[in-house]
């Protein structure tokens, strides 16, 4: 395999369980070796199905999946050599931790000495060296998670699949484990396909994120692009919090569109994913890019009148819900910095944002 051959390749893959509807529609994806790619999407969008096809537990209805350049549609799961971490860990309950880790090595016919060194190394890697003789039921959720991770890595696969491995953990532990998985990925140089529906997890861990919806990849991009330059309304809505204002394109001039909101106001926006003049659009603006203090609203910014409906103190942030251009759910986030003004319901303010922060996207 030369360096340019992708580690994993989905080529026009389709999947149907019942012959009536497609769960995965025309999936195309190429992953270079060593990448950390996350599949992110709402429940039922086909993430697990993709992973199962890659692991060999489901067959693609159409199209080709290639692993290191080799077509694998007809290779049984145990010959693919892919490490996998399951959502519920799937640690064998009748075996101890050490036996669980020993399993993949035994079926590969390794001798006892080799097995023991590898098990020890894998357990130390996830800081679980002391737990070798415990049963999975005697471990906490986070510890089980580490063992599942160690088991998927102990036979040194090049590719590791993880299906919502942190779904069952509490927030703090989850963040800690995110860091550890990321660290392992970097130090071992493995390729990882990671499935989650937690967007912050996807953003913090991944090299690239594939946003799934309705069996299709909506956008495949590095986290930063995904957040700041969403391709369509679905991605804008799904990643982070987002304000949307609906309207019609009045004029289109290259990158800039002028949008007439349904309430009558006229605003400018960056044209991203829209039809021609006269077509419907959703203008998306991130809550933290909205300003209300006169001194910070600069020349050339768009401003709209707003009425404060609700003020929520969130510690590091103030979250203010406003009525803007007939929308009741417009949200503005301000950092809780020294001297930050706290708005109260009923108050009328003028809000504004930089034109580049308003993106005209497809209507949903």
């Amino acid at each position: 395999m030369d360096v340019t051959t992708p580690m994993v390749e989905f080529d026009r893959v389709q999947k149907s369980y019942d012959g009536e509807s497609l769960v995965v529609k025309d999936l195309n994806l190429a992953m270079p070796k060593g990448e950390f790619l996350t599949m992110l999407g709402p429940s039922g969008s086909g993430k697990t199905t993709c992973l199962m096809m890659l692991a060999g537990f489901e067959t693609a209805t159409n199209g080709e999946i290639r692993l290191a350049g080799k077509e694998i549609n007809h290779i049984p799961p145990h010959k693919r050599g892919i490490g996998m971490v399951f959502q519920n860990y799937a640690l064998f309950p009748h075996m101890t931790v050490a036996e669980n880790l020993s399993f993949p090595l035994e079926v590969r016919g390794m001798d006892r000495g080799t097995r023991e060194t590898k098990i020890k190394r894998a357990l130390d890697m996830v800081q679980m060296g002391k737990f070798a003789s415990r049963r999975p039921a005697q471990l906490s959720g986070g510890q089980q998670q580490r063992i599942a991770l160690a088991r998927a890595l102990v036979f040194e696969p090049d590719l590791v699949l993880m299906d919502e491995p942190l779904g069952a953990l509490d927030k703090q532990l989850r963040e800690h484990m995110q860091f550890e998985i990321k660290h392992l990925h970097e130090s071992l140089g493995i390729t990882v396909v990671y499935v989650t529906h937690d967007q912050s997890e996807a953003l913090t861990m991944s090299d690239r994120v594939a946003v799934f919806n309705d069996g299709k990849i909506q956008q495949l991009a590095p986290p930063e692009d995904l957040y700041e330059r969403p391709d369509n309304s679905f991605v804008a809505q799904f990643i982070g919090e987002n304000n949307k204002l609906s309207g019609k394109i009045e004029a289109l001039d290259g990158e800039t569109a002028t949008v007439r909101l349904h309430s009558g106001e006229l605003i400018g926006a960056t044209a991203v994913n829209i039809g021609g003049a006269g077509s419907e659009t959703l203008v998306s603006i991130r809550p933290e890019r909205v300003e209300f203090r006169h001194d910070r609203i600069q020349e050339g910014w768009h401003t709209l009148d707003a009425e404060v409906l609700e003020f929520i103190y969130m510690g590091d942030l103030f979250r203010t819900r406003l009525r803007v251009a007939g929308h009741d759910d417009f949200v503005m986030k301000c950092r809780n910095i020294q001297g930050q003004e706290r708005l109260s319901p009923g108050q009328r303010v003028k809000i504004g944002w930089h034109p580049a922060d308003a993106r005209a996207l497809d209507p949903v």
Binding site: H78, H94, F103
Partner: protein
């Protein structure tokens, strides 16, 4: 924990205390007493029921298996009055060691006893009792008791005059054994053993040994039935646990169907199927696999017992297996596969071990049911397919030797308990999963 006790002021060095200074253990017991009482009231009816229908009958069974006092006391059928009998003869047995040649005194005591029996009309019961241990002696008692009034000294001659068989040492040994209230003779009989004229325990002649053979046959057939139900039931349970709900419900109905039809009907339908002029043989002949004169004897022998009982007991393995298989998520086998195991290795090393509690429960249940099964072997077993329970029934209904029936049943019970204990040692009873 340690620093908690250390910081609570005035805590006694041994045992924790509540805030107001009561020992924690006592406080806990007091607070739980109410809940415990309530729980007890809730189970009380069941407890009474179990006591009445289970513990008492088993107690009765055990006591009957070591005692049949019909040689010691006579119970009047209508009034229920208990009269001690054979008092003099029992005294003579006490005074003389086993194996003593019966002398005039002994015969005199016997004559007195027989006279009393004639009065009480109890010679039949006593005869039956002695007949168990010395077969063919019942008529001696009825015949001689009828003439008891005519007997005169010397009694030995008088009695032997009535029937010479009274001199048989086996008979005297049997009477000696029957004259003590408690005896292990029924257990000896149940194990094909008996006492010789000197009271020593010996095996009965080989041509009269039945029970050990039947115990052995019962055990072997039960093991066979258990194994076949497991082999047949495992795939069914697997299908039940893995099929989509729509199909698995249908299959479940098929599995449970035997429960919804009468045992008798099911057994008779096996007769229709398996007899030599039955459906299966007809089909085989029709298909030319066997000739008309080569019809296979599939029923009224051990094969019939095994086939019919396997069918009847199959749900008892399928259900526990199903209940352990249902929660085994497919991700375990998938994990094993992704770790490099072939599907066979994944099954053997990951799936199968997780079903062991169900296999154990199913096997134990079927085995225990099989060793005590009665109707089916009685109907389709012929003579070679009879099990020990059929013999127990025989002694309850025909020979009326309830004590022997009780002894056989107790041995069966003991065997099952030993099995249960073994299971606990080997697999652990906590691992038993019935549903």
């Amino acid at each position: 924990m340690a620093d908690m006790t250390a910081t609570s002021p005035g805590a006694a060095p041994q045992g924790l205390q509540t805030a107001d200074g009561r020992p924690l253990k006592a406080a806990l017991a007091a607070s739980q007493a109410r809940a415990k009482r309530r729980a007890f009231y809730l189970v009380a009816p069941l407890l009474a029921f179990v006591l009445l229908t289970f513990v008492l009958p088993i107690g009765q069974l055990l006591s009957r298996s070591v005692s049949d006092p019909r040689f010691i006391e006579n119970v009047d059928r209508s009034s229920g009055e208990v009269t001690p009998i054979m008092v003099e003869l029992r005294d003579w047995f006490k005074a003389n060691p086993p194996g003593t040649e019966p002398d005039e005194a002994a015969y005199q005591a016997l004559a007195q006893g027989l006279a009393q029996l004639a009065e009480l009309r109890g010679q039949g019961d006593v005869g039956t009792r002695i007949n168990y241990e010395a077969p063919g002696t019942r008529s001696l008692f009825t015949k001689t008791a009828r003439r008891a009034d005519d007997l005169e000294a010397p009694f030995k001659e008088a009695i032997l005059d009535v029937d010479e068989d009274w001199a048989d040492p086996v008979l005297w040994q049997a009477m000696r054994d029957a004259s003590s209230r408690y005896t292990i003779n029924f257990y000896l009989a149940a194990l094909d053993m008996t006492r010789d004229v000197d009271g020593n325990i010996v095996n009965v002649p080989e041509d009269r040994q039945v029970y050990l053979l039947l115990f052995k046959r019962t055990a072997i057939l039960s093991v066979l039935i258990t194994v076949t139900t497991l082999v047949l039931g495992f795939p069914v349970a697997y299908l039940l646990a893995t099929l989509p709900l729509r199909y698995s419900n249908l299959l479940m109905i098929l599995v449970l169907l035997p429960f919804w039809t009468s045992l008798l009907v099911r057994t008779t339908s096996w007769m229709v199927l398996l007899q030599s002029q039955g459906v299966v043989n007809d089909l085989l002949v029709w298909a030319g696999i066997i000739g008309d004169d080569g019809r296979i004897q599939m029923i009224y022998n051990q094969m019939g017992t095994v086939i019919a009982m396997t069918h009847i007991l199959l749900p008892f393995t399928v259900l526990p297996l199903y209940s352990v298989m249902r929660p085994i998520k497919p991700s375990y086998v998938r994990a094993a596969r992704s770790l490099g195991a072939t599907s066979w290795t994944a099954f053997r090393r990951v799936y199968l071990p997780q079903t062991v509690p169900g296999i154990g429960a199913g096997a134990l249940l079927v085995f225990i049911l099989a060793v005590g099964y009665y109707i089916t072997p009685a109907l389709v077993g012929g003579s070679s397919g009879q099990l020990i329970s059929n013999l127990i029934a025989f002694h309850m209904q025909n020979s009326l030797n309830w004590s022997l029936a009780a002894a056989l049943a107790s041995l069966l019970l003991a065997g099952v308990l030993v099995l249960y204990w073994l299971y606990d040692r080997l697999v652990g009873i906590d691992n038993l999963k019935l549903g």
